[in-house]
Every structure is written in structure tokens, then in C-alpha cells.
């Protein structure tokens, strides 16, 4: 007798399969823009990336206009302990009880490309719970909400640009981009640097996640280095005995796209 599992949802005819999507991803990767393409230097994440269907109408077609940053852009908004309560770094202690799932520590350092720390700057994170469910009305994934997990954290980096969060390892979650589409487990990070030019939002991934090669959002970065920049390292020195596994993820901010373009994306990138 066969054990019974749900069939999953039925997609409208013509909805691409994962195989279709993987072929599109491979094709772009093979023909990816090189450093001679003006858009490439500006966005190592390709903004014109059709496999992520929602991006098709939401990216500018013109090249970015290269400008000298002016005074305001060379400064950053100021945040401090008035803005963030010191307990907000711990996503497992924000409701009454302990959330379900695998407790983890995520720590790292925020710097610019020269290694200068982003001191006393705001980090905001949000994520799905252990079952892959976000606490938001629009969310349709039939996984349980966890009454003890909001999935939101904030902190201010210290003098050295270092941050630490305690949270639950998020689960992968399904989305409607194509048939049987699943996002790899990830934590969203909103980051401020020492200049407004460096302000960014990104996602942190976990090493070894089998969904990363299949995911159009992750694959919108076509270089290996760029992809690696989003994957945390498992760090046994961060792991706390009898309590939580530890991950280290350093964030390097990029205010001047041109600096990156000329000095970091050397020819060794093109292999």
C-alpha cells in the first residue's frame, strides 16, 4: 500500500517548471554580462533578470547615471540605543515563550570595502519561522505560525562594526514564481553604513542549502564570489555549547560602484 501524501497545487497551463527555470538560469549564467557591460559594474546582482518573473517590469532599462556623491550622500542617518531596545537582537525572547525550531547565533562585522567598520549603525532583520512561514497576512504557505516567533530583530553595530543576533533557523518556503518553486532558507538584512551611498538590503543564506542552485533570486548574482558573499559560514567558535549552532556572516558595503568595478571585479572573475 502506498502512503498518502498531498499532490500539491495545480498550476495554470504554461507555468514554467523548475526544469524550465533552471535552463533559463543556466543560459543567463553562461552569457552573463561581463565587466565591459556598464550595468554589470553597478549591480553585481543583475536587476534585469527574467527568471525572477516579478523583476521583469520593475527594473530600469537605462544605465545608472554616474554621479559624484554630494555631502548628504556621504553621510548616514544616525541611529543609537534610543532607537533600538537592547533586547531586540534576540528573536527568541520577544514573546512569552520559546519559539519552535533550531536556535542559532548569527554574528559578523559590517565594514566598507576598505575594512573600515560601520560603527553604531542600524541592522534590521526579518525572516520566516522554522516551518517556513512569515508572520504576514498576505502569506499563504500552509505551514503553522509560531505564537512565540515574530521573525523580526534589530540591533546597532558596536564600535568595531560587529553585530550578533540570536534567532531560529528559518525554513524554506514555497512561492509562486514557477511550478514547485521554493526559496532557500534565508534571513533578510537591512543595513546602513557610514554613507548613504552604502545603504543596502540583502538576504543571508545558509551553507549547503540544496535550493540555492534552483532559486532565481539567489541566481540573479551570476558570479561565484557574489553568491558566496551571501552565504554565512558555519563557525564552531560561534556555536555555544549545549545551546545553539553559530554562523558568521560579514557584510561588506559598497557605496562607490565604480571602486568596486575597477578594483575588485578583476579579470579573475571571468572564469
Amino acid at each position: 500500500m502506498q502512503n498518502d501524501i498531498p499532490k500539491g497545487m495545480t498550476y495554470p497551463p504554461g507555468t514554467p517548471t523548475q526544469a524550465d527555470m533552471s535552463a533559463e538560469i543556466a543560459d543567463i549564467r553562461e552569457n552573463r554580462p561581463t565587466s565591459s557591460d556598464p550595468n554589470w559594474g553597478a549591480h553585481r546582482t543583475l536587476i534585469d533578470y527574467p527568471p525572477y518573473r516579478s523583476s521583469i517590469l520593475r527594473h530600469p532599462s537605462a544605465n545608472l547615471e554616474l554621479v559624484d556623491p554630494e555631502t548628504i550622500e556621504l553621510h548616514s542617518p544616525a541611529f543609537g540605543h534610543r532607537d533600538v531596545h537592547w533586547t531586540e537582537y534576540d528573536l527568541t525572547q520577544q514573546v512569552n515563550g520559546e519559539p519552535q525550531g533550531e536556535r542559532i547565533v548569527v554574528t559578523g562585522r559590517v565594514t566598507d570595502a576598505d575594512g573600515r567598520p560601520a560603527r553604531h549603525q542600524l541592522l534590521e532583520i526579518w525572516q520566516a519561522n522554522a516551518g517556513g512561514r512569515y508572520r504576514q497576512k498576505k502569506e499563504r504557505h500552509p505551514a503553522p505560525l509560531d505564537p512565540n516567533f515574530n521573525g523580526v530583530g534589530r540591533t546597532i553595530t558596536n564600535e568595531n562594526g560587529e553585530y550578533t543576533f540570536v534567532t531560529i533557523k528559518p525554513g524554506p518556503y514555497p512561492w509562486g514564481n514557477h511550478q514547485n518553486a521554493w526559496r532557500p532558507a534565508h534571513i533578510h538584512f537591512s543595513v546602513f553604513g557610514n554613507q548613504f551611498t552604502e545603504r543596502m538590503v540583502t538576504q543571508m543564506y545558509f551553507p549547503g542549502d540544496p535550493l540555492m542552485p534552483l532559486d532565481p533570486i539567489f541566481q540573479s548574482i551570476t558570479s561565484e564570489k557574489g553568491q558566496k558573499s551571501l552565504i554565512a559560514d558555519y563557525d564552531h567558535d560561534v556555536t555555544v555549547p549545549d545551546w545553539a549552532l553559530g554562523y558568521r556572516w560579514n557584510i561588506v558595503l559598497n557605496g562607490s560602484n565604480r571602486t568596486w568595478f575597477e578594483s575588485v571585479d578583476g579579470p579573475e572573475e571571468e572564469h
Binding site: 523583476s55 547615471e65 542617518p77 544616525a78 512569515y134 533578510h188 538590503v201 551571501l230
Partner: protein, 183 residues
């Protein structure tokens, strides 16, 4: 790593659930509603078909009306007696964002004041920097704006409306906003 530079972390979209992590009370009020000298800065975010983008985040960062760069903390929890210069607005179902703020003052001789702006959205894989200038002689004479073709220049200049200014952001298409990369 080349030339001693660290490899920068790549951008990713804010995704559909940014409001979980990027919301706080009063984030659209750079200054309180109705305070002396306050204006409204509002507009719509559109995609390449002219459809409203109802899940964008627009942030502004600006000097005060005298051109001073805010240096005090309070970006999230405002202090009544100081100006943080930072605001954030999630677009609504019609694609509309809105701020209550003050006019930015000039910070550099011979250059027009502006709101520094950054846009994030579901479907937008990386941040987009832009600026919002205000119509007037300083903007007419601004060297950066002068080098843009008139149609592109116009995408960076707000339109006066009652109580403030309106400025639409087109992510793509004929009226596509000029977005910036920095030297």
C-alpha cells in the same frame, strides 16, 4: 580581493514581506504632521506598464532647512527637539508613498539642495538610488542636472502641489526615473 579591497556583499530584493522587518511608528514623519515649516512629499511608484507598485519602500535622507547634516541619533525614535533627517514609507495599494518633512537646505556652494532617495521593492533585485530636487533657480543652475537631457532631468524634479510636492518614481518605461551610481 584585488588591490586590498574586500569583496562587497551583493544586493537582494526586500521581497514581499519587508513590512515585517522594516516598519516602525511614525516612519513617514521626518518632522511631525502640522509642525511649523512642514511640507508633504508624496508620489506614486510605477512599474514598466504604468501599474502601481504597491510593495515598494522609499527612503529619504536630507539636511535640515538650513543645510545642516543631522548627526544625532533618533532615526527611528524621534526626539522632539532635534531633526534626524531620515524617513521611510512603504507604498500603499495605489503605489503611493508619503512623507511629512521640511525642505532640504543647500550643503554645497553652487549645487541645488535635494532629498537623497533610495528605493527597494519586491521584484527589484537591488537598491536604486535617486534624488528629488525642487523646482527653482538653484535647480535650474545645478551642474549635475544640466548635463542630463531635459526629459531625463525632469524625472528628478518634484512638482509643487498644495502643502508640498509630488514626485512619481517610474522604475521602468518612457518616464523612467534617473537612477544613480556613485563615483
Amino acid at each position: 580581493m584585488t588591490n586590498g579591497k574586500l569583496y562587497p556583499t551583493a544586493d537582494q530584493t526586500v521581497g514581499p514581506y519587508y513590512a515585517i522587518g522594516m516598519s516602525y511608528d511614525g516612519m513617514e514623519e521626518v518632522v511631525p504632521h502640522g509642525s511649523v515649516g512642514s511640507i508633504t512629499l508624496t508620489g506614486y511608484v510605477y512599474d514598466g506598464n504604468g501599474a502601481p507598485v504597491n510593495d515598494a519602500v522609499v527612503e529619504i535622507w536630507q539636511p535640515d532647512a538650513q543645510g545642516n547634516i543631522p548627526q544625532e541619533s533618533g532615526g527611528i525614535v524621534r526626539k522632539v527637539d532635534s531633526f534626524s533627517g531620515f524617513g521611510r514609507s512603504g507604498s500603499d495599494d495605489e503605489g503611493r508613498y508619503q512623507f511629512t518633512t521640511v525642505l532640504p537646505g543647500a550643503t554645497e556652494e553652487g549645487k541645488a539642495p535635494f532629498f537623497a532617495v533610495i528605493v527597494f521593492a519586491r521584484g527589484l533585485l537591488a537598491r536604486l538610488h535617486t534624488r528629488i530636487y525642487l523646482p527653482g533657480p538653484a535647480t535650474d543652475a545645478d551642474p549635475f542636472l544640466q548635463r542630463l537631457e531635459p526629459a531625463r532631468r525632469a524625472t528628478l524634479i518634484a512638482t509643487p502641489v498644495e502643502g508640498g510636492f509630488r514626485h512619481d518614481i517610474h522604475l521602468q518605461g518612457e518616464k523612467e526615473t534617473v537612477f544613480l551610481a556613485f563615483n
